[in-house]
Assembly symmetry: C2
Homo-oligomer: 166 residues x 2
């Protein structure tokens, strides 16, 4: 068996986040439908569009490293999304639903921020400059989304979560 290298690790991690991003597109669609707060709904919809672009950028990175774009089950994202679905189920009809959806979305963002941060560092080390700039773009959008969600939580969603349902 050939020795495993940083190149292999980069490729494996790329496949992991590629699978994750595709899952996230679907999850965001579902979360946008479930959300009540219009700002939160708009944030989910906007980020769904961005996530579709993230998938395309990853396909370009696969091209750069001369590999076929192919995902690999990412158990982390499966777990994170399955928790989000549990919240959706348990808090359906509750004024705290949006707060739960928002928190679950931030868990997703943080997973992605960590993966892209890692991939960026490895791409740099491996000399894939074009990949670095593609990953940077996505990384900025993930961080901006996380910040936007924090603002929505602070300005409306968390306060609404305390109210009794009508």
């Amino acid at each position: 068996m050939a020795e495993k290298t940083l190149e292999d690790l980069f490729h494996e991690t790329l496949r992991d986040i590629y699978y994750a991003e595709k899952k996230i597109v679907k999850a965001l669609r579902k979360q946008a439908r479930a959300a009540h707060n219009p700002q939160l709904q708009a944030a989910f919809e906007k980020h769904e569009e961005q996530t579709e672009k993230h998938v395309e950028r990853l396909e370009k990175v696969f091209d750069i490293i001369d590999k076929r774009a192919r995902g690999k089950t990412c158990e982390a994202i499966e777990g994170i999304i399955s928790e989000a679905e549990e919240v959706m189920e348990t808090f359906k009809g509750s004024p705290a639903l949006d707060a739960g959806l928002l928190a679950a979305a931030q868990a997703v963002e943080h997973y992605e921020i960590s993966r892209y941060g890692t991939l960026r560092a490895w791409a740099e080390k491996l000399g894939y400059d074009e990949a670095v700039s593609l990953i940077d773009k996505t990384l900025s959008e993930e961080s901006e989304t996380d910040d936007l969600l924090t603002r929505i939580a602070e300005t409306s969603v968390n306060a609404a979560a305390e109210k009794k349902a009508a």
Copy 2:
């Protein structure tokens, strides 16, 4: 069925991270044994000790909200840790192993940062001031650990990952 509130959401999320922290103690022990880089090994060992304190702080938060400290399967952390184990298996004996372990540990830290950030905001909204200060302490340690791991990656682990094994 009683209406679900932000209080319930706080409690559920507390149970989720309580389960996660206990899993993380064990995972860090394993990762410290697997790591080759002495700085990385020391970082894992130090953070294992901190994580034991995080478990205790969570028990105090359960006390504050007058609930029994009881975890609830956290599928997110199960997924994240199971990916870390896969890396440990696949990259055993490879110079890229440490880079993979470090990246997996950062995914864990980011999950925790997101959960504690959320719990902090909710505790504030619910008026649990003592819980806010306990969560703040843990949150700082998670962020510091993440930063330390980034420094170790940049200064030694990622460079070593490119080298051929002896």
